[in-house]
């Protein structure tokens, strides 16, 4: 879910092309003009000058820190500015790989165990699934005292009832973003997606995410997105197959965002942070939580079993939980933060916290905002199969 940056991916394509052309030019005997971007600035040496003083300050034993920290995250789901600050402060080089959906993350760890990541960012139901699969390590809270900054409403949720395995990160909804200039009238519910008006047919983007997209279809049909009834799942599958003719594509949220900006789609199922970035580039883009309800999610930082640098990972988590850092990250990313202390101190943009489409009043929405639940065995297989069939159907 949830991705972010100020430049969209296809803006990189021309740059890459230019690079390719430069390569060709040099290969053909022309002047070689390919410039290689310098690697991320190394942390200033000064951070290592007074380790004792800093250790006293923040309780971090710098001698135990590793030189690298490897993170597996949703693409563009953490502000580079924050990473740079951490690197500068602790002299740790952070390496980030990205995944596109929870199931792919799970598949990666299932395939051959932990490939060497120190931190991963699964969502609620996937945290539960990974805990049950024995893929996560317990977090040593002694190293992460800043967990106190997280609001109690974000702790001890169903997927990690004793708050042993995850540090809450962002939360949010899965709703609809649309271009008000190109859509007649307002988009208010899933009905607008599944019974599309003439003008938006063929210009709808859905998420390439089995639980989210099947979940939306289930909700439109009046069922729970956590339905375990084979008939209901079948009905949702048939709806999606029938509806496929109106869909421009099934995208991950970053591609959906770029397509909204470029105009390839005018309506897209997406997350608020992506919609916000799209709106920054094209002010006519608006995000809504469908009135008939939506998925609510909360992502968590987890340390996978076999993480090579657990202590450094915990230091990183504690850093991310600092109100100033959490607020900076939230302001840049546009997702609702779980760091209540940062909000209380007024560090998070009021334009964000007061926007009811970004920070919905969860109580007022009641059961219309629902977490996705983790399934096992047969039910999971039903969803897997339904989603494959939606993909294969012509």
């Amino acid at each position: 879910m949830k991705n972010e940056s100020n430049s969209s991916r296809w803006f990189h394509a021309p740059a890459a092309l230019a690079g390719a052309i430069a390569l060709l030019a040099s290969a053909c005997g022309g002047p070689a003009t390919v410039t290689v971007a310098p690697p991320t600035a190394a942390p200033p040496a000064s951070t290592q000058v007074e380790p004792a003083a800093q250790a006293a300050q923040d309780g971090v034993d710098r001698s135990r820190l590793s030189s690298e920290l490897s993170i597996y995250n949703w693409s563009e789901y953490i502000a580079p500015e924050v990473i740079e600050k951490f690197e500068a402060e602790y002299g740790v080089k952070v390496i980030i790989d990205s995944f596109e959906d929870n199931e792919s993350l799970f598949a990666k760890f299932q395939a051959g165990g932990n490939p060497g990541y120190d931190l991963i960012v699964p969502s609620d139901y996937m945290i539960e699934r990974m805990i049950k699969a024995g893929m996560l390590d317990k977090i040593d809270w002694a190293n992460v005292p800043n967990i106190k900054n997280i609001g109690p409403e974000y702790l001890n949720l169903y997927f990690d009832p004793n708050q042993e395995y995850s540090v809450p990160y962002f939360w949010g909804t899965t709703g609809i973003a649309y271009d008000t200039n190109r859509v007649e009238g307002e988009i208010t519910s899933w009905r607008n997606i599944f019974q599309p008006a003439e003008g938006i047919r063929g210009r709808i983007g859905l998420l390439n995410d089995q639980r989210e997209t099947i979940g939306a279809a289930l909700r439109y049909l009046g069922y729970s997105p956590n339905s375990t009834d084979p008939n209901e799942i079948e009905a949702a599958k048939n709806l999606l197959l029938e509806h496929k003719q109106y869909v421009a594509g099934y995208y991950d949220s970053i591609v959906a965002r770029d397509n909204l900006i470029s105009g390839d789609v005018v309506v897209a199922m997406t997350y608020p942070g992506d919609a916000l970035v799209a709106a920054q580039q094209k002010s006519s883009i608006k995000y809504v939580i469908p009135e008939d309800g939506a998925t609510i999610w909360q992502d968590g930082w987890c340390i996978p079993v076999g993480a090579p640098h657990k202590y450094t990972a915990e230091v990183f988590l504690n850093f991310m939980l600092r109100p100033d850092i959490a607020a900076e990250n939230a302001n840049l990313m546009g997702y609702p933060t779980t760091n209540s202390e940062a909000v209380r101190q007024g560090l998070v943009d009021r334009a964000l916290t007061q926007d009811k489409t970004i920070y919905p009043d969860v109580k007022a929405w009641g059961s219309r905002l629902e977490f996705l639940k983790h399934f096992e065995g047969e039910t999971q297989a039903l969803y897997d199969r339904a989603w494959t069939e939606v993909g294969v159907g012509q």
Partner: protein
């Protein structure tokens, strides 16, 4: 003494076979055996391949849905092969007719795209075909269309991507074939009164058949299992075998089913290769 030489020779052969053999066993035979085994397994509660053994994965592929998927993948790949052949033949012919010093340059030009990452090239194609990309802008500007045409996420887009990506694999074998072509044959045919079409169909095509066949198999096999092109040009809406396999090993965590489809894909490819060898032998017989 003779015997020791013979023994040494045996050792030599073994020694020469060793690297290739190990490679084949480690990177081909073992994974294949694994895939074969997994394709008969079921899944446990955490979606891992597990016992008991079952035929369900193969039964599932005989669902009309997946039969259509195979037919679509094979059909689109055949079309790709045909179109690349139609484009590549004149190009290869042109190259082969050039003076020798120009030929190398042309070969280089055909190969240059390989120096650029395939992914980047496919993104470039995607960029060209966007709703407000250069192609639509041009068509709008010329007044040929009133509003942007949806080019991406269509079978057409995937076809364009495949043809673009596979074209060099058709040009090069054709060129190799045509370069060795004895042009006096054409003169002979013309002297004997064959018109241009007859010359092409009855002289050139049979004599360049090995190149055509090699090119076709080089294009068809990667096309039928292609993944990246389908993913990027198809926008998640168009599916071919390769993408469904990737989905089973990723998102769906259904290794057994993915393995079963993989093995069926291998059957398709093997059939294509058998046809290739059979026709190839026939052609050689004809010559």
């Amino acid at each position: 003494m003779l015997q020791t030489i013979r023994e040494r020779k045996g050792l030599q052969v073994l020694g020469l076979m060793f690297p290739g053999g190990v490679w084949l066993i480690v990177f081909f035979a073992l994974p294949l055996a694994l895939i074969f085994a997994i394709s008969f397994m079921s899944r446990d509660d955490l979606s891992r391949p597990a016992l008991p053994l079952t035929l369900a994965n193969y039964q599932q592929t005989f669902d009309l849905l997946y039969i259509n998927l195979f037919l679509f993948s094979v059909g689109l790949s055949l079309l790709t092969t045909l179109i690349t052949l139609l484009i590549a033949f004149p190009v290869a012919l042109f190259m082969a007719r050039l003076p020798k010093r120009w030929r190398n340059l042309m070969t280089l030009l055909v190969m240059i795209p390989f120096w650029t990452n395939f992914l980047v090239r496919t993104y470039a194609l995607q960029f060209l075909m966007r709703a407000n990309g250069p192609i639509n802008t041009l068509l709008l500007g010329l007044g040929l269309i009133d509003e942007p045409v949806q080019l991406l996420s269509t079978p057409f887009a995937v076809l364009v991507g495949l043809v673009y990506g596979e074209l060099p694999f058709m040009i090069l074998p054709l060129y190799t074939s045509l370069e060795k072509f004895d042009w006096s044959m054409i003169e002979a045919a013309q002297d004997l009164g064959a018109n241009a079409l007859n010359t092409l169909l009855r002289v050139m095509l049979p004599l360049t058949a090995p190149g055509i066949l090699a090119g076709s198999i080089l294009v068809f096999v990667p096309s039928v299992g292609s993944y990246i092109t389908v993913e990027l040009m198809g926008g998640g809406k168009i599916n071919m075998i390769g993408r469904v396999i990737a989905q089973q090993f990723g998102q769906s965590s259904n290794w057994p089913f993915g393995s079963a489809i993989s093995l069926l894909l291998m059957v398709v490819v093997t059939i294509a290769a058998l046809i290739y060898f059979r026709i190839g032998r026939g052609e050689r017989g004809a010559i």
